[in-house]
Each structure stands twice: as structure tokens, then as C-alpha cells.
């Protein structure tokens, strides 16, 4: 009996798992992110001046009048501060997001896979954390523990964690009921093995999109904390701080606040372009399945 030699083979998928192609928007997004990444890594080397050094007696000099981008409200070189600020802004946001993700996923996945009272306890804890408005939570923490960099990053991570846990739990729940996960369970696989081998690879795409959005949120949130004066403290160069410092310059026709604001905006746009593409990819996968 070799029926399948004729029939199965006719239908054999010759399609290999092709690398998904980048759209133009995704390419632009990636280029933006790449530039930001380069600046964050090389910024301090490229910067002509120290970020705290007052190089001019005049504040709010225009573009090209002092250094490349002019001077800020104290007469420091704006260009150098921008380059130094990249590392601080992007670095803190990245660390906070990653930390928030690790905690959130651990909570969400465990709840989804273990179920029962463990799931109930985790969900209740997550609800509790979510019920605090983010700004209020960070105000309380910062007032109580001070605004060291560690506290800032940890606070943002804690704000992310329950939200990631919710999304992660929902996605993992969906995967956890699939047959291959049940087979793994009956095989005698442990919790870690099921989470890391069966569930995680099947949630990574949806979570990548979530990661991009959360990273944007981190940057904006840290910037707004800086803007409120609760975040990273002057004279450290940070884009959020720089917007606040140079705000008054807008009254005198200086665009000094616009450069850091524009940098924050551009990285958000870049992340969102890439995230949109990832989301599209997951969608394509589904329609591809349906086509069969």
C-alpha cells in the first residue's frame, strides 16, 4: 500500500520557510532605529564637547552659531548634549522595558500554564498593580526612595510588568490549549520546558509587537518624568530633561527644545514602523494558513 506516494507527494509543500520581506515603511523604521542605536553607542565619542561644559556666554544661540545645533539655556553645546543624551534616554528605556518584560512574561506564562489558584493569585496581584495610575505610582516611589537611576528604571519596569503579564497570559492561554502542548504535558515535560520550548516560540511574534510599543512608552514616560523634574536630574544629558530645560527658549524664538523632542518623536515613529511590520507578518502567516 503506497497510496501516499502518489497523493501525499502531489500536495507536498515545496515552500520553504521564507524570510519575510521588508516593506519600505519597515526599512525606513529600521534605518531610523539603526541611526539611534549608533548614536547611543558612539555618541560620547563623537561629541565635540563635554555635556556639562559651558562653551558660550550666550544662551539659546541658533543653529550653526555655536557648535552644530547652537547652545542651550546655560550656553552648553546642544549638539554634544544630544549625542550624550541618546545613550541615557535609550539605555534607560531599554533596560526598563526588558526588565518589565521578563517579570511580566514570567508571571503571565506561569499563570496561563499552571492555572488554578496560582493563576488566580497572579491575576489578582496584576490587577492590584494595574489599578495604580502610572504617574501616581512613580511619584510615590520616587518620593519614598529618591530618584536614583536604579529606582527610576525599576519603577518603569514595575509599571510595565502587570500589563505585559496580562497580554502574555492571554497569548499563552491560547497556545497552552493547543494539542502539541497537551502532548508535551502527557510526555512528562516540566513547567520550564513547556514554557520555553512549546509556548515561548509561538508567542514571540505577538510579544515582539508588544515590546516595541512598550519601549516607546518607556521613552516617553521617562521623558515625562524628567520633564516634571522627577526623573533624571540635570546636569546629566537626557532628551526629556533637555526638553524641559530649554522650554523657555521657545519664548525667545529658540528651537533648542525641539531637537530632543524631535529625537524622541523620531525613535517612537521608527519603533512603530517596525512594530507595524511585525504585526503584519503575524497576520500574513494566518492568511497563508487559510489559503491551504
Amino acid at each position: 500500500m503506497n497510496f501516499h506516494a502518489t497523493t501525499d507527494k502531489q500536495k507536498k509543500k515545496t515552500r520553504r520557510r521564507a524570510r519575510p520581506r521588508l516593506t519600505l515603511a519597515a526599512k525606513i523604521g529600521l534605518i531610523i532605529l539603526l541611526l539611534h542605536g549608533l548614536v547611543a553607542i558612539l555618541g560620547p565619542v563623537l561629541a565635540p564637547e563635554s555635556p556639562a561644559e559651558i562653551v558660550s556666554d550666550d544662551s539659546f544661540l541658533g543653529v550653526g552659531e555655536c557648535g552644530l545645533l547652537g547652545s542651550d539655556y546655560l550656553g552648553r553645546d546642544l549638539y554634544s548634549r544630544m549625542l550624550h543624551g541618546a545613550r541615557m534616554t535609550i539605555g534607560t528605556a531599554l533596560i526598563a522595558t526588558i526588565a518589565g518584560f521578563l517579570i511580566g512574561m514570567a508571571l503571565g506564562f506561569t499563570g496561563a500554564e499552571v492555572g488554578g489558584w496560582v493563576d488566580n493569585a497572579i491575576s489578582a496581584f496584576v490587577d492590584l498593580l494595574i489599578s495604580f495610575p502610572p504617574i501616581l505610582l512613580s511619584l510615590v516611589v520616587i518620593v519614598a526612595l529618591g530618584n536614583s537611576l536604579l529606582v527610576l528604571v525599576a519603577t518603569v519596569a514595575v509599571i510595565h510588568a502587570p500589563r505585559v503579564a496580562r497580554v502574555g497570559r492571554a497569548i499563552a492561554m491560547d497556545v497552552a490549549t493547543k494539542d502539541f502542548v497537551e502532548v508535551a504535558r502527557t510526555r512528562g515535560e516540566g513547567l520550564w520546558s513547556i514554557l520555553s520550548r512549546e509556548i515561548w516560540p509561538n508567542t514571540i511574534r505577538s510579544l515582539a509587537a508588544e515590546f516595541g510599543l512598550r519601549l516607546t512608552f518607556s521613552i516617553l514616560f521617562l521623558s515625562s518624568l524628567s520633564f516634571l523634574g522627577l526623573g533624571i536630574q540635570p546636569p546629566t544629558a537626557d532628551w526629556g530633561v533637555m526638553v524641559r530645560e530649554n522650554m523657555s527658549g521657545l519664548l525667545y524664538g529658540s528651537g533648542a527644545a525641539l531637537f530632543p523632542a524631535g529625537a524622541i518623536a523620531s525613535i517612537s515613529v521608527g519603533i512603530n514602523l517596525v512594530v507595524d511590520w511585525i504585526v503584519e507578518q503575524t497576520g500574513q502567516e494566518i492568511s497563508g494558513e487559510m489559503l491551504k
Binding site: T7, D8, K11, K13, E285, G288, M290
Partner: protein
Amino acid sequence: MTQKLSIENLVIEAKKPTGKWFEIIHGVSVTVKPGEVLALIGESGAGKSTLGLAALGYSRPGTRITGGNVRLGEMDILNLTRPQIRDFRGRQVAYVAQSAYAAINPAIVLGEQVAEGLLVHTIGNRAERKRRVIKMMEILDLPDAENMARQYPHQVSGGQQQRVMVAMAMIDKPGLIVFDEPTTALDVTTQIEVLKAIKKGNREKGNSAIYISHDLSVVAQVADRIVVLLDGRIVEIGNTPELLANPQEDYTRQLLGAVRQIPKVTTGKIYAPRTGEGAGPPLLELKGIHASYQRSTWLHPIPMNRNILRGVSFQVEAGKIVALVGESGSGKSTIARVISGLLPPISGELRFQDKPLPASIRQRPLDQLRRIQMVCQSPDTTLNPEQQISEAIGRPLKLYFGLKNSQRRERVEELLSMVELPGDYADRYPSELSGGEKQRVSLARAFAADPEVILCDEILSALDTVVASAVLEMLKNLQRKMGTAYLFISHDLATVATIVDRVVVLYAGQVCEEGPAAKVFAPPYHPYTALLISSVPELRTGWLEDVLASRQAETGIVHGGMAPRDNGCAFRTRCPLAIPGLCDLQPPGKKILANGHVVYCHREIQELSQ
């Protein structure tokens, strides 16, 4: 009203995920004469549905019609404007989808959904519409139509939902109806009701129809002519009786050869019993298992009778194939979940290799888990899409036997060749495999553990007949070679009859008959077994009429599809032999016949012989 449909040189393309278009229907020409029922038959991917939908002037997202034309009478369907198409669909042609569950709106009462076609095409006033809806539902044998029109979809059974969908299609008196596998998702017992309703509706309304199916036995009952499709091309067209009796093409013969039937026997063997029957303790034993997905708590007590499984007992002997048959909802899969440890039972005892089997996975030692392996129904979810085949099969090898690298790779390729797949499949991902190949890999993964018993939960039901035949054949061979026991869960009695040693018939969470296959598939039957067996369509025209004529009218019809769950016999509401005052009050007694053949029924064995 009914006009000739002609499809000429139709070419349809589909879009690959990469964005490239390729042909899936290669210039097909078909005509449907007025009042004729034309069947489209073929395997999945042959283009049956695509072609059927094209008759409605519709192409699914990701497909496009690029050539040929479709005409109904004088009308050129492919060149209609949008408002014309809206008027055309529903009034001239209608569509009945495979899954009523997915096609019916769960939040709207059935009557209103049936009336929607009339409403959209502004036919009649409210009272007139209601009258026509109820008349249509009565034509389709829906019981108590007036009342049912006010019910929500979940309040009626699957077969009734499917008939409501047929009513939705027929309500506007279209000249042509496209039925897309309308009975594939149904049990054989329900299938009969729907087939009967479709036939009656077609006859009374005088419409022509395109009937899409992969099941030749079903098509033989309803179609005047059959079109055999393969890969978007017509292989053969013929009148139903002639095509069945005298197929011209090899492929048609192959399809006919793959149809499995319950062998006709009145006494004697179906499948030769092996020697050594009943020697030693059974491999796996279930004693009085009660199980449910809801937990009974102090606050919400759930009576034992509400459970999915209500006192199930049976045995699986080493190296034997035991089938678990019954309609959907009878608890077959729940039994597999209980045995595998995914669902700890509420009460009852599990024994494995003469030792108690702990209820949940966490209490079972790894070596015990290894001995019981599971293969699932759906090829699309049984493998982790992110793991290569080598990983899927290699994992149990590493987990249970600690095989590493080249040793493991070697064994993976060995297992692949065991399930008749090339060794280089190890490097593939599941998305690069067909449904049949995925099920083979899934079996290889189970065999990798070198198990004592494999729980096969409807493993063939998602496959095409020809592919399923090949997998079934392979299963038999492997069983002979490895001596593994199978618990073979299936609603397809014809498949079961060809391979199993013992059969356990399940109804509403209780065993109603069990015994050697040869005994269960021959009289005397439990009335439920008799119903199941007589409902399996035979590959000949006129079978449906014969069955309906010989059958008492009341069997098969259950309001809402729910079996009574009390102390009495669960089957009594459908049983032609039910004794009022006895069957509804007392549980049926156990009647033991020869060779471990057991029937649970109030009637005497002599009375069951017909």
C-alpha cells in the same frame, strides 16, 4: 425559475504568501441542468469549494477569477455590478456552508436568521415572512417549527442547526443552491436527517444544486451526476450509478477503493481474532470512571449524573486494538484525557500493567508516562509550528532514553522511515508538510517513546479518504511489527470495523455495548449500535431511501440533542424498543454473552436479534 448553470473554461488564481499568483483551477467547464443535483468530489485542495463559490460569482480573499465565464440562464454572473450581485445572490443562488456552528449568528433567534433573505430582498410583510419561514422549516422536518423559530442556535442540535442553514438558503426559492460539505462535520446518525431534509427540500422546491463532498457514499445518495476533481482539473464526469459501477479513470477507481465500509455479515468474523485472548491481566483497565470538566464544590454541587463520563469501565489488553465509538458528545475524547492524566477523574479506578495508575500527570513516574502516548485529531495543532520535525520526534528520545546528537538523529530517521517518510523530513518545519504527513510524524513521535499503548483520538478524521486509508494501513502494519496496543477513538464505524479487535460503544458517557469487533458488528445488537451501524452510508444509490423506509420514524430525532441524564437508560428517548415505566426509571442491566460480549439493555437478548 430554475435555469441552466454553465461554467466555461474557468480559471482561478490564488495568491501565495510571497505575493505571487498561481493557477488553482485550470480552465474547468461544467454545466448544471435545471433541477439537477451535480456533485463535486475530490480531495482537499482539489478546488471543489473554489469552483462551487465561483458559481455564486464569488472568489475568496486571496483568490481571483482570471478567465472563463459563469452563466445562469442568460445572465453573465462574473460581469454583474455590485447591486446586481446582491440581488442575484440569495434569490437566484444560495450557499450552505460546512459548519453551521460557524455560519449561524449565535445571538439571533433562528427564525429571524431564516427570514433574513426575505427581509433583504423585501419580500412580504412580517406575518407573510413568518408563515414562509415556518413552512420552510417544516419542509426540512424540523420538529415543532413554530417554537424552534424562536430559539437560539445553541438550543438546538448540530443537525438541526445545519437544517436551519439549509432553510436559510432555500427560503428565497433560489434556482441553484451550492452545498459545501453540509454533513461532513456531523455524526452519521445526524447526517441521515440532514441528507433526507436536503433531498426533500430540493425535490419540493425544484431547484438545482451543486453538492460538494469528499465522501462518495454520501454523494451516491443525493447526486444525479458526479464530477471528479483533482488539482483544479476535471478527471471524470458521469451519471452517479454509472460512475460508481464503472469508473473510467484510475483516480476515480482509487477514490472508490479508498471508501471503507462495514463488511456485511450476519454471523461470524469480521476481523480474525488473535490467539491468546484473555490471557493474563489487562494492560489498561478503567473501573467505574466518573469525570467532568466542572468541579463539584460545596457551593455548587454537581450531581454525578451530570458528569461527562458516568461510570465507564472497560479494558485494553496488551497488543490489542480497542475502538471507542459513539456520537460526538458521548465522552470518547474525555476518556483519552482521563487515561493520559490530563483530566483527573472524579471517582473510579485506573489500572495500568496491574498497578494503580495515578490520576494526574504530576503523580506519574516518567517511565509510566512513556508507556502511554497520545496522538491527536487535528494535524494542524498536533505539532509545534516552531519546531523542526527532528526536534518533535527527538524530544521524547532525549527525555526518555537520553539519546544525544548523532544517535538521536539516526533514530529520528529510523522512526521517519517507519512511518514511511523520507529521512530528510527531519529538517523540515510542520508548515512544509501535508495533513497526512503531519499525522505520520505525530505517530512517529508517539512510537519514539516505545510505548505500550497509544491513544489515537480521531487521528484520521481530518484526512482525505485516500490519505486516511494509507495511514490506516500503516497503523495496522506498525501494530503487527511493534505489538503496541491502540485505543482507537473514532466516530467512523467503517474505519473501526477494518482494524480493531474489540469495540466499546459509548452513549452519553456510559458504555452500552462492548465486545469483540466480530460480535459487536453482527446481531444481536444493542439498539444504539444498530442505529449507528445502519446509519453508515453505503456506496450505492438508493441506500438512503432503503434505510428511511426500514427505520422507525422516531429514532434519530432528539430535541436539542441532549440525552436524559438520570437513573434510567440514556438512550431510551431514541430507542425503538424502549419500555415505558422501566427504561426511564432503572439503569439497564448487564447482559453477558459469549466471548466477553456485553450488552447493557433491559430487553432480552432474543428481542435484540433483529
